[in-house]
Structure formats: C-alpha cells, structure tokens
Amino acid sequence: MGDIHIAEERCKGCGLCIDACPRGLISFAEDLNEKGYTYVEFTGDLEQCTGCTLCATACPDQGIEVWNKRGKQTFENTTGLTERMSHYCPGCTHGIIHRITAECLQELGLLDRTVGVAPVGCSVLAYEYFNVDMFEAAHGRAPAVATGAKRARPECIVFTYQGDGDLCSIGGNEILHAANRGEKITVIFVNNAIYGMTGGQMAPTTLPGQRTSTSPDGRDIEATGHPINMAELLATLSTPAYIARGSSHDPQHVLKTKKMIKKAFEHQASGTCFSFVEVLSTCPTNWGLAPQESGDWVRDHMIPQYPLGVIKQPESVS
C-alpha cells in the first residue's frame, strides 16, 4: 500500500491525474474547492496504490505528493519552484514543464547558481514560479538576454523558457544566433502550436489546417507556409549542440522529457555546448479541447509533425 496526498486547494480539476492512474484510484469530488474548481480525490482502495507517482507526474499544479509501500516519499514537490499557484489554465502543461525543469536543477544541485529568463507569452510570469534568480525579457529576446548574462557570469547556469511565438517567430533571429555562437545556455522551448497568451492566434508552429483565431478556416500552407520544426532547423548548424524534442502529453513522455532537460543542463554545467529541448505542450483553452483530449491531440497530430527524440548531440557524446 502506498499513500498519496492531494492538495485540494491546489487542484484546478484538469483531471490529468485521473487519466494517469493505472488503477483508476482517483476521481472528481462532488464539491468545488475554494477557487471554484471541481477538485480530485483519492477514492480507490489505498491497498491498490503502488506509489507509482504517475498521478503526480501528470499534475501541472504541484498538487500531489506520493509515498510508497515502505512509507518512503517517492514524489515530493520540488524546491526549484515557489509555492505560488500558477495562473495557467487547467490542464495546460506549462506547469508540468516548469516542474521537470525545476526538478532537474534541484537534482543537479544547481538551484543556487541558476538564472532563468522568462519570455513574453503565457509563461511571462515564470519568474514568479521558478525558485531562482530570474529575468523577464522582451518578446523573443530571451536568448540575447541569456547570452549577456552567461557571458557576464559564466559560473552561473543560465536558461531561457520560451513559447513558440516568442522563440520561433519574433525571436527567430536571437535563438538562431545564440545557437550558432554556441552560447553555453539551456533553452526550454514550449511548443503548443499556438499563441496562448494573446488568445489563440496562429504561430509559426501551427499545424496545416489547424484552426486558430487568425487562421479561422485552418492554416493555409500556401499563404502562411509550413510549420517550423525549430529543433531540426537548429540542428542543421555546424556548431556543436545538444538538441532534443520531448512531449508533455502523458506521464511517460514527461519522464522521458525530464531526462532530456537534465542532459541539457549537464551539458551546460560541464561547459560542453549550447543545449535546447523542445517540449510539445497543450493549450486546452485555445484549442477548444478538454485537457485529456488535448493530450491525445498532441499524440495524434503534433508528434507526426514534430518527431520526438534526441536530434543532435555534441560529437564527444554521439
């Protein structure tokens, strides 16, 4: 028998943990919590819980902690994030990507010398959540700010956290050249195929035919071009780099992506190379899909366009 603790007050009722539990031990409560969300409860037989942590892995809101059969805590909220509730919509996986990034920094013992750079986009408030020194940069300019910061204090671990509009559209030049110079920074690139913050406009990463508020009839590739595969594009540069793409649509992929992010920070910590991890992410609100359906949409539509895996490694490793 394991044990899990669900923080009712943190729950936004996205239900991703319900889907994640292999034994169906979590379900929605009858009541609303203080914020007005239908929160989740552990309703199964505690004897059946193995403490596998998939529920906590799927939670975007640091709402679940887990203990295994022997009473050992197998999932503990990371100290790499503040306790502040995020402003992200229910089921948005920005929260998950924040968490695994923070977990990597904590596990590598880097929190005390990490400086993050928040973008403009839904994650503009990332500086409220990452428990490290933070910049808030202008739209798309995070890689330039990170370049200045890292060149100024090479002993620091510097990372940017950017959306697809931020990195791929307005900040296309800054990311391209930071990568080409081989800046020893780490870039976490959150690709949700849309402009979330401004209310769901087409991004360079929007899929062909995908409806957004500025592609109401579906993205027309004749008029607007094809989606940009940023990871592959950066991998064409000769400069050594670690470039990978993961996804946040289910707990298994979250765990794989976390390994990539860890590798990325390791490359920075050892001064090896520029590192870049693209993470496919959801936008339930602007996609008009439920959180679970959003995950399925990533699996069925985004992954075929944006294949997962390590795309490039510095030569010494490959």
């Binding site: 500086y127 300019r141 200045g148």
Partner: protein
C-alpha cells in the same frame, strides 16, 4: 600625462576600458565601427568579453543580460541601430539597470547617409522607446571631452541605475585629435558595478531576485512610474552640465553679449570659431553649450538668456532641421526672439556660414 593622437571612436573604446568596462556587445555600423574594432583587440588584453551580436536588437538585450548580473557593460551604434534598440532601452530603464550606449549619430531619416548629424536629439531626449522613461544623454564636442564623458557616463549609470547615452555626431568618432586619459587604467574598478543588493547571479543563500518590468496591477505600475519620475527629477536637479563660451574672461568683449548662440557637439565647436571671428569685428556674441542634453540645463540657459543685453536674440544652430530648438524655446518661455539655422544630410555648417548668420541677426555689414 602624455597626449596621444587618436581617432575619436578608438579613444572612446579606450576610455570605456579605463572606466572599468569589460563587456561590449555591438553590431557594425558606420560611423562607429572603429569602436568595436578597437575593443575586439583591447578587451581580451584585460580579460574582457567582446560579442558581435546578430543585430542591435540583440546587442541591447545582451547588455540587459550582463547589466542585470551586475557587470559593467556597454554597446555602441549609430542612428538606425539606435532605433532598433528602442525596445531594449525601454526595458533596461524600466528594470533600472545601469549601462552605457554610444550613439555616433549619422544623417537620417531612413538609411540616410553616413555623414555626421544631430538629428537624433528628439530620439535621445524624448520618446526613444515606449513608456515614461528617460535616458541621461551626454553630448561631447571634442575627442577629449568624449573620453572624459565616458567615465562620467558609467558613474552616472551606476549612481542612478539608468541607461546613459553618449550622443556624439559622427564627426567626433571620425576625427583624430590629441587626447589625454585621466588617471591610470582603471578610473573605476573593473567589471563589478556594486550590485550587491540588486544584481542576479550566484545566490549563496540570499533571497532570490527578479529583474522585471511587468506590473499587472495599475496601482503598482503607477507607483513604479512615480518612483522613476522622482529619480529623473533628482537627476535633473543634480546632473545638468553646460559650458558658457565668450563672455567671461574676454578682455575685448568686456563680458557682455548681444546675441546668445546655443549649440551642442561639433556644432558648438564651429560656433566658437564663428564667435571668435565676429568678436574680432566688435560683434558681441556668446555661446551656451549644453553638455547634458537630458537633463537639459533649462535654468542655466535661462540665466544666460536673461544676461543678453537689451532685447538681443538667441540663435540656435544644429545639424538637424531644428530639434533642440524646442528646448531652447521652452527655456526662453517667450522672453526672447529665437533664431534658428540648421543643416541636414551630413552637411556641416562652416564657421564662415555661422558668422555670416550672426552678422545678419545683429544687423552688421557682411564681412
């Protein structure tokens, strides 16, 4: 101390190094390119960092990154590049980070030309980027003064945690003059800006810090603007600088003047020659030269205007179609007739041309 003959741009680069600057981020553009070309060689000799950015948009954001880490840093560019930096300067001012920006002004608008101009006065002293913020603007009129103002620029930037622009016309960057560097290298301790209580970096247990310009609450943003405004008022009260040329210590002129010229940078230098010429003819003209374009020395200028004899006029001369002249009018508050002469496109008025205008205004016979 020995004088060395140096090109203005290179002297500015050396002055930055002597002022303890070790980090430079920039993108090539005429007529300032000798600054990065000098620093790319010079900075490595002192353990510094030189990055050729992909654009001025990037270079100013690199400056933001380095400044946020408490490291003394700068960028330099010329007019079109400065336009591209507008967004970044607004963020840096909002975040109250110190940095120095050199604008070696060239003629505009658009791509314009590569020859000297003073047509970025509005841009430098008014709305460069968005929002209510101000940049301290210093305007040298010789290579020596440019060198001297570099140290002051870093000192002001760090005292007020604000961007400082050294705004020179391309002539200053391109000409060679003998210069003397005050003090041994380093006028300021290298690199560190004393950001102990605000800079980001290795934490060693201290509370985390945030460099940010986002304030979602209107009241908080209003507060932030009021705080910035109070700082700008403080700067205006303490940091105006100017030079008055002509009246004092001038045996022949007897101290008084019937016409007050106002000019800055290279234009001021040309006006001085013109004034020397007309004084030799018995015409009494003097020059007021703002050294700080922002804060503009309104009160000092007004005093100099009040000292003009009789109903004598003010004569503003610029290498632009008339930008500083608006501030001159503000200083006059309608008390004086304001004459203006300006050229654009890289055309630099000659001392003779200015002297001739002075004679016209004073109703004297052409020389």
């Amino acid at each position: 101390m020995t004088k060395v003959l140096m090109k203005g741009n290179e002297a500015l680069g050396e002055a930055a190094v002597r002022a303890g600057c070790r980090h430079f981020f920039g993108y090539p553009i005429t007529p300032q390119t000798e600054i990065p070309e000098y620093l790319v060689k010079r900075l490595p000799q002192v353990g510094g960092v030189f990055v050729q950015a992909e654009s001025e948009v990037a270079s100013i954001n690199m400056v933001m990154g380095a400044a946020g880490m408490g490291i003394r840093c700068m960028t330099s560019s010329s007019s079109p590049g400065i336009s591209l930096m507008a967004e970044g300067v607004s963020y840096i001012a909002a975040c109250e980070l110190p940095c120095v920006i050199i604008n070696m002004m060239r003629a505009g608008p658009g791509l314009g030309g590569i020859l000297p101009a003073q047509s970025d006065y509005f841009q430098a002293t008014r709305g460069h980027g968005h929002g209510d913020y101000q940049v301290i603007v210093l305007a040298p009129s010789s290579v020596q003064e440019a060198v001297d103002l570099m140290t002051l620029a870093f000192e002001l930037a760090e005292t007020y945690r604000n961007p400082v622009m050294v705004c020179a016309d391309g002539m200053i960057g391109q000409m060679m003059e003998p210069v003397e560097f005050a003090g041994e290298p380093d006028a300021l301790p290298p690199n560190e800006m004393g950001g102990d209580d605000w800079a980001l970096g290795v934490r060693e247990g201290r509370k985390r810090r945030i460099v940010n310009s986002l304030y979602l609450s209107p009241d908080e943003l209003n507060e932030h603007n009021l705080k910035l405004k109070a700082k700008y008022d403080d700067i205006a009260a303490k940091e105006t600088r100017h030079e008055l040329y002509g009246p004092e210590g001038d045996a022949e002129g007897g101290g008084g003047y019937d016409l007050l010229l106002v000019a800055f940078g290279t234009m001021a230098r040309i006006c001085k020659t013109a004034i020397d010429d007309v004084r030799a003819e018995g015409l009494r003209a003097a020059l007021f030269r703002p050294i700080t374009l922002n804060p503009f020395p309104f009160a000092d200028l007004r005093r100099a205007m009040d000292a003009i004899e009789g109903d004598g006029a003010v004569f503003d001369v610029e290498m632009s179609m008339g930008q500083m002249v608006y501030d001159v009018k503000l200083a006059a508050e309608g008390t004086r007739r304001i004459e203006f002469h300006g050229t654009a496109g890289g055309v630099v008025p000659s001392p003779d041309e200015v002297a001739q205008k002075i004679r016209e205004i004073l109703g004297a016979a052409p020389a």
